[in-house]
Amino acid sequence: MAVVCTASRVLTKKILSAKALLAVSQSSRKLHFSIYGKNEAKVSDGISTQYPVVDHEFDAVVVGAGGAGLRAAFGLSEAGFNTACVTKLFPTRSHTVAAQGGINAALGNMEGDDWRWHFYDTVKGSDWLGDQDAIHYMTEQAPHAVVELENFGMPFSRTEDGKIYQRAFGGQSLKFGKGGQAHRCCCVADRTGHSLLHTLYGRSLRYDTSYFVEYFALDLLMEEGECKGVIALCMEDGSIHRFRSKNTVIATGGYGRTYFSCTSAHTSTGDGNAMVTRAGLPCQDLEFVQFHPTGIYGAGCLITEGCRGEGGILINSEGERFMERYAPNAKDLASRDVVSRSITIEIREGRGCGPEKDHAYLQLHHLPPQQLATRLPGISETAMVFAGVDVTKEPIPVLPTVHYNMGGIPTNYKGQVLTYTPEEGDKVVPGLFACGEAACASVHGANRLGANSLLDLVVFGRACAHTIADICNPGEKLSPLKPNAGEESVANLDKLRFADGSMRTSEIRLNMQKTMQNHAAVFRTGKVLKEGCDKMDAVYQTLDDIKTFDRGIVWNTDLVETLELQNLMLNAVQTINSAEQRQESRGAHSREDFKDRMDELDYAKPLAGQVRKPIEEHWRKHTMSTVDPKTGKVTLKYRPVIDNSLDAEDCAAIPPAIRSY
């Protein structure tokens, strides 16, 4: 105890001697990171004297502390690795806490069930763009994962016999689609994600994972194509930290905030995807973004389809029930993508509502208030809190909203990050792993099924921990790192901290969000996407003209928001360029000018006698996008989908077919 105190005092003196931290020295308080017994953090002047850098050494570093990050972090600690978890938010504030739906697993508590049927449903849901070996792994591990969570103390709802109660949700069927609805979704009252996160966090405190909370990860430390750690900014005191380790796991979540309307938190900024892009590695399938037709304008919360089911109607600025034109039979009860596209077309043609004419109205006041209160309890409260409208008098402003990103960092089923070349195939990037929404394993393919993403988090978080435990041993010596590793990140940080252009961060961000919402949302045609690509390129160039106001280094939220904007931009340009190139409609990516799926064989007709198209001529392949961060130019390559499961005898792979529900 006394040794630690003196050591930290010595370090404090060294850091406080730097000129930039003059403000801190005047208060003479200790910097809040502490040295955890085993490894002494050393201060170095390797990068610059203005920004003293603290070096830490760990066996494994996890970036992000949501569902996947926490599971990976304590899985590693349990296996004996000295693990650090670097997160920009407190673990229980990660966006996983907002996932209130359930978690799918073929436990068979309600009726006989088999994980192979779950496998079939997920492959079909992904529109045959999902890698079947990863889906096999996830659905086979699902029952173990849910039982493990239950053993950790997660309070699932129960049947009378005491088994976990499962309900029907998310396109799940029995007997490979022929046996009717399956009941596979387990939940915890109304708050599965919240409970999951708290259970995992509580469990992780049992093990000695070192948490670095409110540390913003800037970049990966790559040397010769191998990942040797992460460099991060401590937001509390402005110090730079380099976490050297042999294994880095990225679990930073999605990037909903590239769009104007999204359900994600303000912190969902795709930091992991951007870190990987800046390291020169590709991101996969970023054009597949899942939308919901009716999200409240401004707030981003989704209004249930039940509103339309109970008689609610969508109207445009002329008061017309426009769904009658787009779906004469189903009208407002048409499928989600038809409704999203209809709303977008109305807005594009100038019949949007509101001062900026950029949303539609969902009208419920023509229904008797008693019926609303009994059938949809709580909706008046929701509408008042999030939209500020009285649902019995005024319509709710809605527009299509982003909910989930299917794409991300490409990994294999073990969680190892991959690069691809046609000559050598998939190649693992040593030392780098990814899991959760940030990764693309790819289990969701072109479309995610409900209640599968929470499963994805825990299964692949655990998979990363297991893979690392298989490959390495705790306490292995680290390979040497150049003393000035990470200097570009610090240079970028310094440039942004003193940026003095003419446009504020919030203006550039709003431009990007509006461009993406108008051009890369649900309604995609060649012309609209091309226009969007050009506009996005222009917005990207305005990043050079950015202006920040806060010049300090302690808790500089202006700087952190600007760093997040850089990350969002990289995600946005890849999304829109990938969408522009993909000339087909598959899953969540649907184009008006190419309405059909383009596979290697035409699965709508009998297969006998058809010639298999080469990979350059069909679109059943993953997009691998890379960006040159200086110019914003996107390069696209393609990678074939993995069509074989892990064990052909145990679980046969599903050959592609036309997807119809």
């Binding site: 739906g101 109660y165 109304d190 709580g378 008046s380």
Partner: protein
């Protein structure tokens, strides 16, 4: 009188923290008498923050989703499940009019 009481309490607490000895009863005794003395002196002041649109302090807002008796859903016999009507009845996961998963 007050100050000396507080000083005694303070020294007791330091003593307890460093040496780990159990002086709880004496400590809480100090605390109770100290706060009791303060209460007699001045009444608590009313909050002066302006009332917002949602500050309905007179009527208690009733949660529209009522708890089931014993937390067991009478229709499906599910224990510890979501309150109110079945969340998946419209095909997505609905709660209070909000869709949280689909």
């Amino acid at each position: 009188m007050n100050m000396s009481l507080l000083r005694v309490c303070a020294s007791t607490s330091i003593f307890r923290a460093t040496k780990g000895l159990f002086m709880e009863s004496a400590f809480t005794g100090c605390l109770r008498t100290a706060s009791g003395a303060a209460k007699d002196k001045e009444p608590l002041r009313k909050a002066k923050t302006p009332q917002g649109r949602f500050d309905m302090n007179d009527e208690k807002i009733k949660d529209p989703l009522e708890k089931f008796p014993d937390d067991v859903n009478p229709a499906t016999k599910e224990q510890g499940g979501p309150r109110g009507p079945e969340p998946t009845r419209y095909g997505d996961w609905e709660r209070k009019g909000r869709c949280v998963d689909f």
